[in-house]
Structures are given as structure tokens and as C-alpha cells.
């Protein structure tokens, strides 16, 4: 297995994702500058089994989080990557925001209902363990992951929500308190084909016992096993 972490201007969890994938999970991983990918770049994405869009403030989150990044060569290349290959895409935090802006995942992420940035560890309920990302977990179990975002309130149109539920695309929900006011407390989703994943919580921040209980590693391990 081979993974790539896309570096956009303003990414700030790129090194974290790289460290966890390569050092903690032991997956050969490259940090890829976003312009080195795609139509004019020299690095084909198809050589990777997993593409990570890391957290951060790509393009300063100006306009809206992810609204400018979706035009980056690396993001534009994702449709082709998904159409021609069988690899997976995981967007974490800002990465999730970009995936919704790019139309690769449904819904959108709006400003937290508190109108403040929130950084804390939250409890999450696993809603569907039957996807590559959540395969190492059990449906119904609770895990702990940190969140750190200003625009994490998941919103989706009523018919979109019905579809998410019908296809069992909701992966994680906030258990107990819904910190940002997300629709149905949704914290993470996937596409109908289970190849594109978006999470507001940061699994890469809880993969070592020094930093937490390691639930993030249990989650990410699912990707390695598939």
C-alpha cells in the first residue's frame, strides 16, 4: 500500500498525517505539493492507494473553507483518480470541507453554531462499520477523537439527508453533546461507493498512547487492511 498526503497552501495538518501514516501505521507515504499533481504536474495520483487531504486552512479559508482549494490541480485530479482507479480518498477537517466544496461528498460545512473555533476531544458513535475506513471498529461503539475547527457544522438538504441515511453513508456522529450543531450530529460521512471519506474529527491526533487512547489508530488501521 502507498499513500499520498496532498499539501495545499495553508494545509497545517499535512506533516501530522504524514507522520502518522509513515511512522505509526508504517505505510509508505509521500507528501505531494498540490501543483505537482494533475494535468500539468509530473506525479500521477494513480500510483497511490490512498489520498489524504489534510486539515488546515487551505488558501486561508478565504471566501469559505475549501472554496478556493477545490480548484487546485490536485483536487481537480481527484475525479479522474476515482474514475480510473480503485484507490480511496480521505479528507480530514479542511480536507472534508474541500471534498464537499468539490462535490465529491454531499452537504456542506458551515460555521459552528457557537460561532467560535472549538478544540476539544469528543466522543463519537460509529454508525456504520461496514466501510473500508471504519472496518476495524464496531457499529454502535463509541470512540474518542479531537476536533479543532471553526466551520464544522454539517448541513445537508432534507432529501440529501434521506439519501445519506438510505445508503448508510453516515460513519460517525457526535455522541452526547453536539459541539458544532451539525445536522443529526453528523461528524463523518462517505460517498455511496465507500471510496471517498470526510471526517471533521482528527484521527491522526489520537494514534499514540502518549497523546490519547489510540482510537484514531484503530480507525485508520481500517484503511491499511483494505
Amino acid at each position: 500500500m502507498r499513500a499520498a498526503v496532498i499539501v495545499l497552501p495553508g494545509s497545517n495538518c499535512d506533516h501530522d498525517a504524514f507522520y502518522v501514516l509513515s511512522q505509526v501505521l508504517g505505510v509508505p507515504t509521500d507528501l505531494l505539493w498540490h501543483e505537482d499533481v494533475g494535468a500539468h504536474g509530473h506525479t500521477p495520483l494513480l500510483q497511490y492507494d490512498l489520498i489524504i487531504l489534510p486539515g488546515g486552512f487551505s488558501y486561508g479559508d478565504y471566501l469559505r473553507a475549501g472554496a478556493i482549494a477545490r480548484f487546485s490541480p490536485a483536487i481537480l485530479a481527484l475525479s479522474d483518480y476515482l474514475a480510473r482507479g480503485c484507490g480511496l480518498v480521505l479528507g480530514i477537517c479542511n480536507g472534508f470541507q474541500i471534498l464537499t466544496e468539490a462535490g465529491l461528498l454531499p452537504g456542506a460545512l458551515a460555521r459552528n453554531i457557537t460561532r467560535q473555533f472549538i478544540c476539544q476531544t469528543v466522543r463519537l458513535r460509529v454508525e456504520n462499520a461496514d466501510t473500508p475506513l471504519t472496518s476495524a471498529l464496531q457499529t454502535g461503539e463509541e470512540i474518542e477523537l479531537p476536533i479543532a475547527h471553526d466551520q464544522g457544522r454539517y448541513v445537508v438538504a432534507p432529501n440529501g439527508l434521506a439519501e445519506l441515511k438510505r445508503n448508510r453513508q453516515v460513519l460517525l456522529t457526535y455522541a452526547g453533546e453536539n459541539p458544532n450543531g451539525s445536522e443529526e450530529a453528523i461528524a463523518g460521512i462517505c460517498d455511496p461507493k465507500r471510496r471517498v471519506f470526510g471526517l471533521m474529527p482528527h484521527p491522526e491526533r489520537n494514534t499514540e498512547l502518549l497523546l490519547g487512547n489510540g482510537d484514531g489508530l484503530r480507525l485508520l488501521r481500517g484503511l491499511k487492511q483494505t
Binding site: 497552501p9 495553508g10 497545517n12 501530522d16 486561508g60 479559508d61 473555533f117 478544540c119 502518549l210
Partner: protein, 784 residues
């Protein structure tokens, strides 16, 4: 020099005075130049000789601070101090204040404060890995009103720190916050940034610095373009804020953390590239791209950064103004030179390598322009096209102004004059019964809920404190923050501390205690303190009593650092924190960095296991002066307690040193399960915090003790918990070192904090839920 030039002309005097230069300074300028200065030259001197940039009133005293240890790679005088951890790793750190800008425009003032200190760390070639902040505001007085001016300031400052720090991806891992009306007009915003330096190629661990050298070499301006913002920020920081604060808003810069993030990555890439010799080009080994030096553009912009680089390299710099990328046109030479536009740095690179370095910045979407060259003549020469606009000797600019003759005078009553309320006679309220607490539960709950003591969660949860995945102990979870350093067994331990009330009561003690308290924070975790950075916040140094207090505080800082053998490696002085109504009390703030050789040996703050014994280690008696308890229950006037005790208990430095060594030995030998130093709020608050942090109750034999004992803040004390089987070893170690200690009780499985009567075994207790509720409500509604 013709005699008629020895004195500045009337025009120069008038123009210079407008820029804050004194007649003595103007005379010296004329002497240095041998002629009248031009407008641009006058601006150069005004900036370089401002208090903010030249440390003219403080330099003399700052030399007293000890700054040497075998680990110091870079001491005071650079953009940041650097301490070596081992053969491959070093840490760079510094405190910077952004008090005036934050008073005027809290959001952008605080945000650009973060930007500035991050660039200082970057200037050493270090990657910023942590931020801590030290904040002071007036009393919040939150009653029916949720929109007091103090809360507006607090919200703005916190939002500014969050906005900038979160976006650049540097975790805010700790900090401190006090409220006191003495800061109502002059809030303090001091920020500490810590960076990590890895060994780099041929450079090894040698940090970069703000230096230009090698005649013909290139000065590269990188980052953002230059605009009209923040002109005269440094001179504005060097005077009292008078009149309408709104009028000063244009002096405050606006930060762009996104650009800052790009600048961090690009600059570090340049530092890495610049540490290696070039690959052979056309078969020839090239010796080119060793980055020579770099400097952030902060206060004074190019006008101060370039002379500083030239002075350090013993060279001159010739600047071509038309080469500077501008954000807005037209701009006058004066505006270009003095602009404090954020997110800019200057690099000095070998001639021939400018393209290679420029390309790095262009990749990140940043400007990079060759704006000048290093010259042999030790002058700062400024040209626009062919026109010579300024030619000033570097030494004259960077050497600083003639020392101002500030007088020193001790006030009649210590504390009076610095804090007006202290000068008033003791209030008419009945003499408090120090002997026996009226109701310890009510008092403890009130203290835990006090804005000065309670939980800071509403603030720190707005800061990303887990990014970079190093935060092992974050804000609110311990006496100090603990970061792991990847691929090593180390823990980097960080704190920032300072108590202005102590400074008001006794500036010497305020300084000494700030050092001791910061060291205690680190030692409580089990770390070895390695270095200090200081933020010295004072009122107008031309006031003899303020200046006296400044000298006293420095002496206190110096004596404590000497006794504890911790060097000062960097710092910041902020004067003129006063308004027509009030002056801030002397507020020396200490940032300290320590090392845990084995991060797994860190000692937690909370009680761990039922049955563990609870010890108080350290001084066995003291008073109640200067305490949060007095402030809360008897008003500030009674921080001065007539006939009860001295104003403030004095810290005994030799004792402190012995105590800290013993605490480190206890941690290293694994003899203690938890440790927490006793500070604001006193003994009971400390016990409650340890109970809350561990989620364990405690039974304590403290019933009937005096309020001074339960709530006094006398120095040099810790609360530790000890497994019963380790009790003998702990007693032996403390006995050998002749340190007083007492067993206060034990950790219990029930979630209750109980005080047991010595004779009747009568329990009075509080449930941990009540304690937690009080603690969590301290800042409740402040950010709603």
C-alpha cells in the same frame, strides 16, 4: 565639523520632536551625521532609537540578568534565544508584548502579536511548535452586562490569538490570565513562542541570525508586499496612550495568518536549502547557496531590520527603494521604509544564489525581490533610482541614542504610587479573623469560581492546542504544558507566569517570585528548567518611582535566576503602559522552558490512587498578604494588611533552590504520584485542583487551621501525593535535605474533599461535582 552644525536647527528640532526624539538625541544625530538630517534620516533615527527598538531605558539594567550556561547557543540580543537540548536538537524561544496595539484594536493587535513572535522564532531558522500567552485585563465585573469594555477587549484579544495561531498551525498550549483594574486602560498581551531547531547539514546546530555579511551579497525581501499599514508602530509603542484610542487604529497592522503559514514553510525550506552547499553545476563544485542570515520585519520595518543586520555583520547595506514590491501606489520613501506590513522577512544570500532562493518563495505564492546589497562602507544608504535619499552610519543607528537620564526614586510606601488604592488607609471593615475560617467550603468555592483562579476552558478551547500532534499535557491539565519531541524520549515543558499584585507590593519580590514560580511549574512536572525569556511590562520609565520599580524587579529576576542557575536568553520590555488615570503595576512575566529527559517520567497534577498520602513540602509558615483571598473577600486595599503580616512574604532563594532540587529528585526516583505547586488561591485551592484533575477525593487533617494557612500564598510549597510504600523513602530524602514537610491526609475513593476535625473526627466536606461546577463557571458567559 563646522561649529554651527553642532546644534540642530530649529526645523530639525521641531520635526524631530514630532517624531518623539529629544533635543539631546537630535544633537547627537547632527553630531553623527555632521550635518542636518533629512526627513527620511530623521525617521530612521526615530525608529531605531525608540524605546521599543533600542531598549534605551532598560539596556543598562538588563545586563544584570545572568545569561550564561553551557547549553546557551544564543543569548539575549537576537530575535530569540536558543538553548541546546543535545547534539542534534535545540529550542528557540522568546516573549514579545503587543500591549498598545491590543489596547487600541484588540483583534488585530493580538493577532499581529502572534505573527511577530512567530517570525522571531523563524528568524533563528527554527520551526515554531508552541505558543503560550499571558494576558492582563481590568476587572470583568460581569453582572447583568455581558458587554463591558473589559469583556470586549478580552473577546477581541482571544479571537485574534485564535484567528492567527489556529490558521498558522502552531498550537497554543498554555498561558495565564489575571484581572485587575490596574490594567483597565492598559491590557497586557504577552506572547511566548517556542521553536525547534534540528541539526542541519554543515551548519550543524548553529542557529541562523539577523546578520548580513560579505560585500556584494544580496538582500532579499520575501513574503508579503509592502503597504501603508502600521507606520510608526514602534514609536507608538514607546509612548503613553493618550486621547482617543480610535485615532491610533491606523498604527495597528492587520495580519494575514495564511500568508504567515506560507512564509513559515518557505523560509524553513530556504533555511534547509541554505544549510547545504549546492550540488555540482556543470561539473564544477559550487560553494554558493549558504544562507547567510535572516531577519523578520517587525517594529520599524526595513528601517530597523536592515541596520541591525548590517551592524551584526560589521558591514553596510545599500537599499534600492524602487525594487520593493508595493501593495499600493504611490508610497513615499518614508512610508516604504517605515511600513510595518506583516508577513515579511529579509534574507541575506550569496550573490548568484538569489534566483534559487527566490524560486522557493515564488513556489509558495510569495514575493521575493532583490532590494539591496551588502557594501563595505558601514552605512545604511538608501536610494530611489539614482537619487540618494539617506546615508547614515550603521553604528550611529544601531548603537542607540545617548542614555536618557531617568531618575530612580523609591516611593515612601512600597506599593503606593504604583497602585493608587494601596496608598489609601486600611478600609473601615472589621479586622478579619485570620485565626479560624468562618466557612471554608463557601470560601473555597468562591475562590475556585473567581475569574483569577477558575477554569480557563472557555478561552483555550478556542485555540487549537493539539495540532502538530505533540501536546501531551495541554492547557488546563497541569502546572506546565508538556510537548513530546518526535523521535526522541524527551518532553519539552513550557510555562509562562507573573503576578502583578506581587509586583505592586514589592517589585523586587515580584521579579524573584516570577522566576521561582515558573521554575516550580516546570519542576512540578519533573522537568529541569533550562532557560528564561522575560516580558517586562511597566509604566512610564521617566517616572522615578516606576523606574525604581523596574530596577528592583530586574534585580529580583536576576537574583532568582542566579540562585536557581537558569539563564535568561531573550526577552522584551514594554514601557508606557499607563493612562492619565492609572499605571499598571510592575508586571514582570517569565516564560520558561524545561526538559524532561524521559517523557514517561512526567508527574501529573491530579491525585492518582486512593490510599496515597498527601504531603505539603516546603515552607511551613507565612502570611496572607497579596493573596487572591484578600482581594476577593476584603477588596484590593486589604492586599495591604495592617499589623497582620508583611505586605508579601519574601521568597528565600537558597531554600527555593534546595526545594526544587529535592522535587526533581523525587520525580526522577519515581517517588511521587502527583505534584502541584501552591500558588494563587493557596493550599485549599491547590488541593481542590489536584482532586479535580485526578477525579479523586481527599481526606485532610486541616480543620481549625487559620485562614492564612488555608488561603495564604506564601512561597516555596508543593502538594504531592505519595504511595504508602514510598513514604519512608520520601521522608528520608526530604530529611536529608532538611526540607520541612507535613502529611495532610490521604487520597480517598469517594469524590469528596473533606476536612477532618483533629479531636472530634467531625467531617466537613465538599463534593467534587460542586468544586468542578465552581471551577468551570469562573469565565462562564464571558464569550457567550
Amino acid at each position: 565639523m563646522p561649529a554651527k552644525l553642532a546644534r540642530p536647527s530649529a526645523e530639525t528640532l521641531a520635526a524631530g520632536t514630532r517624531q518623539g526624539l529629544t533635543p539631546a538625541e537630535l544633537a547627537r544625530i547632527v553630531e553623527i551625521l555632521g550635518r542636518e538630517p533629512g526627513e527620511l534620516e530623521l525617521g530612521l533615527f526615530a525608529l531605531n532609537w525608540s524605546e521599543h527598538c533600542s531598549y534605551k531605558s532598560s539596556k543598562h539594567f538588563l545586563r544584570k540578568l545572568p545569561s550564561e550556561s553551557p547549553r546557551v547557543l544564543q543569548g539575549p540580543g537576537e530575535n530569540a534565544g536558543v538553548i541546546q537540548l543535545d547534539d542534534e536538537l535545540a529550542v528557540a524561544f522568546k516573549v514579545e508584548s503587543h500591549n498598545h496595539p491590543s489596547a487600541v484594536e484588540p483583534f488585530n493587535g493580538a493577532a499581529t502579536g502572534i505573527g511577530g513572535i512567530i517570525r522571531d522564532i523563524l528568524g533563528m531558522g527554527a520551526r515554531p511548535i508552541a505558543l503560550l500567552d499571558s494576558l492582563r485585563f481590568g476587572e470583568p465585573n460581569v453582572g447583568a452586562h455581558r458587554n463591558t469594555p473589559v469583556l470586549d477587549l478580552l473577546r477581541g484579544v482571544v479571537a485574534g490569538i485564535a484567528h492567527y495561531g489556529n490558521c498558522v498551525g502552531v498550537p497554543t498550549v498554555g498561558g495565564e490570565l489575571y484581572f485587575d483594574d490596574a490594567y483597565a486602560d492598559d491590557p497586557l498581551v504577552n506572547v511566548l513562542c517556542v521553536g525547534l531547531l534540528h541539526q542541519r547539514g554543515e551548519r550543524g546546530l548553529q542557529p541562523y541570525g539577523a546578520v548580513a555579511s560579505g560585500v556584494g551579497n544580496v538582500i532579499l525581501l520575501v513574503g508579503a508586499s509592502t503597504g501603508r499599514d502600521g507606520i510608526h508602530g514602534a514609536t507608538f509603542a514607546s509612548e503613553e496612550l493618550v486621547g482617543e484610542k480610535e485615532a491610533k487604529r491606523p498604527n495597528v497592522q492587520v495580519g494575514d495568518p495564511f500568508k504567515a503559514k506560507l512564509l513559515i514553510e518557505a523560509t524553513l525550506e530556504a533555511c534547509n536549502v541554505g544549510a547545504r552547499r549546492a550540488v555540482p553545476l556543470r561539473g564544477q563544485a559550487q560553494d554558493l547557496p549558504l544562507l547567510i542570515g535572516l531577519q523578520d520585519l517587525g517594529a520599524g520595518g526595513l528601517s530597523t531590520a536592515l541596520p541591525e543586520m548590517a551592524a551584526r555583520g560589521g558591514v553596510g547595506i545599500e537599499l534600492q527603494l524602487e525594487k520593493i514590491p508595493l501593495r499600493t501606489r504611490p508610497m513615499t520613501p518614508y512610508e516604504i521604509l517605515l511600513s510595518e506590513s506583516q508577513e515579511r522577512m529579509v534574507l541575506c544570500v550569496p550573490t548568484g544564489s538569489e534566483l534559487r532562493f527566490s524560486r522557493i518563495f515564488h513556489k509558495w505564492g510569495l514575493e521575493a525581490a532583490v532590494i539591496g546589497r551588502v557594501i563595505a562602507e558601514k552605512s545604511f544608504i538608501i536610494r530611489q533610482e539614482q537619487h540618494l535619499l539617506a546615508q547614515v552610519p550603521i553604528e550611529g543607528l544601531a548603537g542607540g541614542p545617548p542614555p536618557p537620564d531617568c531618575a530612580l526614586a523609591a516611593p515612601d510606601v512600597v506599593g503606593a504610587g504604583l497602585v493608587p488604592a494601596l496608598a489609601s488607609p486600611a478600609p473601615a471593615s472589621p479586622q478579619p479573623a485570620w485565626e479560624k475560617p468562618a466557612d471554608w467550603q463557601a470560601r473555597l468555592l468562591a475562590l475556585l469560581a473567581a475569574p483569577g483562579i477558575g477554569s480557563r476552558r472557555p478561552i483555550y478551547q478556542q485555540y487549537d492546542h493539539t495540532v502538530q500532534i505533540n501536546t501531551v499535557v495541554g492547557p488546563g491539565a497541569g502546572d506546565a504544558a508538556v510537548l513530546r519531541i518526535k523521535d526522541t524520549p524527551y518532553g519539552l515543558v513550557l510555562t509562562i507566569d507573573g503576578n502583578g499584585r506581587y509586583g505592586a507590593l514589592d517589585p523586587y519580590q515580584g521579579g524573584a517570585i516570577a522566576v521561582c514560580e515558573a521554575a516550580r511549574n516546570l519542576v512540578a512536572v519533573g522537568a529541569e528548567p533550562l532557560g528564561i525569556t522575560d516580558g517586562l511590562n511597566f509604566a512610564d520609565p521617566n517616572d522615578p518611582e516606576v523606574y525604581w520599580a523596574f530596577a528592583q524587579a530586574i534585580q529580583g529576576l536576576a537574583d532568582a535566576a542566579q540562585a536557581l542557575e537558569i539563564p535568561f536568553v531573550s526577552g522584551n520590555v514594554s514601557f508606557y503602559n499607563q493612562s492619565v488615570r492609572r499605571k499598571i503595576p510592575p508586571t514582570p512575566i517569565v516564560g520558561m522552558v524545561g526538559l524532561l529527559r524521559d517523557i514517561n517520567k512526567r508527574v501529573p497534577m491530579g491525585f492518582q490512587a486512593p490510599g496515597d498520602l498527601i504531603y505539603r513540602i516546603g515552607r511551613a509558615r507565612g502570611g496572607i498578604g497579596g493573596s487572591e483571598f484578600l482581594k476577593l473577600f476584603y477588596g484590593r486595599g486589604e492586599a495591604f494588611v495592617p499589623n497582620a503580616s508583611p505586605l508579601l512574604d519574601k521568597v528565600e532563594l537558597a531554600f527555593e533552590s534546595r526545594l526544587l532540587q529535592a522535587m526533581r529528585a523525587l520525580a526522577q526516583q519515581g517517588l511521587i504520584r502527583s505534584a502541584h505547586d501552591i500558588s494563587e488561591g493557596g493550599l485549599l485551592v491547590t488541593l481542590a485542583e489536584s482532586a479535580l484533575a485526578g477525579g479523586r477525593g481527599a481526606e485532610l487533617d486541616l480543620d481549625g487551621r487559620s485562614e492564612a494557612e488555608l488561603f495564604g500564598e506564601w512561597q516555596s510549597r508543593f502538594i504531592v501525593s505519595v504511595a504508602p510504600e514510598a513514604a519512608d523513602s520520601v521522608a528520608r530524602l526530604l530529611g536529608e535535605r532538611e526540607l520541612p514537610w507535613a502529611c495532610l491526609g490521604r487520597v480517598v475513593p469517594e469524590p469528596l474533599l473533606s476536612l477532618i476535625g483533629a479531636h472530634d473526627h467531625h467531617h466537613t466536606s465538599l463534593h467534587l461535582d460542586e468544586l468542578r461546577q465552581a471551577h468551570e463557571q469562573a469565565l462562564e458567559g464571558f464569550f457567550a
